[in-house]
Assembly symmetry: none
Homo-oligomer: 213 residues x 4
DNA sequence: CATGAATGAGCTTTCATTCAT
DNA sequence: CATGAATGAAAGCTCATTCAT
């Protein structure tokens, strides 16, 4: 019907065949980007597929619905960040806080985290099982690790001391970073406090709270 | 079919006719509920209209597009919460913190706040002007008020003191509540820490940070 | 975007507004034609809507799914044909048979019947309730009426006679017409026996079966 | 990845390789089942292939389109049933009718017949050549054979008799069975008359029509 | 102002067909 | 020959928006 003279070497619909596992990861990468940018409803399967480098129909060979893509995406993303071990068992308060903030802000600065968090906020009610699982497998262990770390520190400094506030409520130690993270979800970068200011304030607060007084 | 002599003016299917201003508020109320529940894209004009007690077509007599409803909604919702004046100029630290937390959690517990915040997170990029305005007219003044309050308190306690951390970075004083608020946006109530625990921890942290050491 | 000079009196998408009851009948008329022509699956909602004189979306204001259109269509079509009363109570066999065949072939020649029958054969398993209802409300009463008619005739001719075969099994009296009807569902008109031949053979068979011997 | 020394020739996922003729028959068997169950349009090539024990792509090695499968299926199915010869040349009317009904109902009870008939009714217009061929190669010879049989019988009983109705119009002799067959295409088994009743009524009608009077 | 039928673009999903492996 | 990922053209259905009533 459309006769071609000197046909191009390859038609545009290049039929690239990849191992399914690779494709699936590409699709989830693309989905994370598109879902985070537009939200679940406004995200178009077309866009996800395009971004993943295949056609809309091709995506359905890997996932059987938009919803399945969404859940697979969260399942992959909601893995616990590891806190690691501090370089030395008995750091001073400042060194400990600096190390902790390094770890914390390193986690929080992964752009993927913002994307996932935005999705969780927007679509939490769509995936109740997912958020419950997130609390148990991600939040709890992380808070527990922070709490243990701070408890050990306090015990090292002052044996027999009453348990410190931050050791009892480790989530308090994260709040300034979480607060900043939420603002990042809403405000464009140029309207945010500069990261160093955030961190410096956070640092001072932790030191204050860990100080013996 | 139902012949009536001296029939009332109301034809079947005709709904109540209200003053435009009232109708608009009802529509925005309905819109807040529906948008918060489903997100901007998944919200249907039909649902908003129904919830506001009129028909889809009727809604378009008040707003000319879905987007206009959304913007009007945010414009109405994004008004600064007033901090009020503390009952006395020179409260003790505990009384001041208790009063501040009363004010703060009273603001944060309005269910409308959660709805708006969820929308801001999900749709921030759709309404950049709105979020910029929000920062200037809502966030900044509120933080400034908190900062001033804490600065006055510190000055009252210890004249000539170096400016306190919380007075310099009043957002730090809000972080635990903001943190808790974010968790409310994601987790169902039964997976959250109980409010009293949140508040108690928050209180202890503020007292620690305000203490002279 | 597409500026128009001397705009036509009416854009092509004429927005004709009809009473819902009228529209629904038009849609079912169109649906019967399209479904019969293509079968349930191959029929396109677009085609039905177009044929009914509205847009695809408009059809969905009247029926909420393709399936609902299909069921409404059958529900409307599957009404019992009335046999009527013979002109005189004691006709001779020939007059009775002629009258019966008039009635029968008048019913069977309605083109709608062919369309519905084709749909029933093709999609019977999709609508089990419908076919059960069809048997009870259409087939049974019709057969009962034929049986009664023939029983009265036999009794009139020969009181105290044993019940005639056709009176006991009235469906036998219809079989030649049903047979011909089935062939009409499969073969194009030019490959069918001519209608007069069908009817003449049918007539002879009935007379033979009603004769005393 | 799974290095194997002297690995067996069969890679994972490889199905059995059969002679083409066998495969084709399996495919047509599967196609008959699936097409009859769902109709042409709703039948999926995937389902046919799966049922035939190969993959979609594999099916296309044997047939080049869905339509070709359909036509091959009909071509294979639409072969004339042979009437056979009655056990004796001059049976009595009852024996002849019983033998004829044995033959007839044996043909009609093959479930394949129902499947093909349903397809013919539903998709007749898709394959006009096929149905024309069916009339010539299946229907006509069968009717001719029945007609000849009945003509011989009448001649045997009463030489010089006028040609009997059934001998002239042999299709009449089949009508009750065809009628019953059509009902089988529409109604579930539990709503049908029992087969013995059908056959008994059919038998009585034929005997009546063959009787001398 | 209000109603709700109607439009039409756009969305998710399906599936016959192709083709690299 | 066989597999199954990939394509691309629909198809069913939705919904913001319009407009006759």
């Amino acid at each position: 019907m459309d006769a071609q003279i000197a046909a191009p070497a390859r038609r545009e619909g290049t039929r690239l065949r990849l191992p399914p596992a690779v494709r699936s990861q590409q699709i989830l990468d693309a989905a994370l980007a598109v879902f985070a940018e537009r939200g679940y409803s406004a995200a178009r399967i077309d866009d996800i597929a395009l971004r993943a480098g295949l056609s809309k129909g091709g995506l359905y060979a890997h996932f059987s619905s938009k919803d399945e893509v969404f859940e697979a995406l969260l399942a992959r993303a909601l893995v616990a960040p590891q806190l690691g071990e501090p370089p030395s068992a008995d750091l001073g308060a400042e060194a400990l806080v600096d190390w902790l903030l390094d770890e914390l802000y390193a986690s929080f600065h992964r752009p993927e985290l913002r994307a996932v968090l935005r999705l969780l906020v927007a679509e939490a009610e769509r995936v109740p099982g997912m958020v419950a699982r997130w609390r148990v497998t991600v939040i709890e262990p992380f808070l527990a690790a922070v709490g243990q770390l701070l408890a050990r520190h306090v015990a090292g400094q002052r044996p027999n001391a009453v348990p410190s506030l931050l050791a009892r409520e480790p989530w308090l130690a994260l709040s300034p970073a979480v607060h900043a993270l939420l603002m990042q979800l809403i405000l464009p970068d140029d309207l945010l406090y500069p990261p160093e200011r955030i961190r410096q304030a956070h640092r001072e607060l932790l030191l204050l709270a860990l100080a013996r007084c």
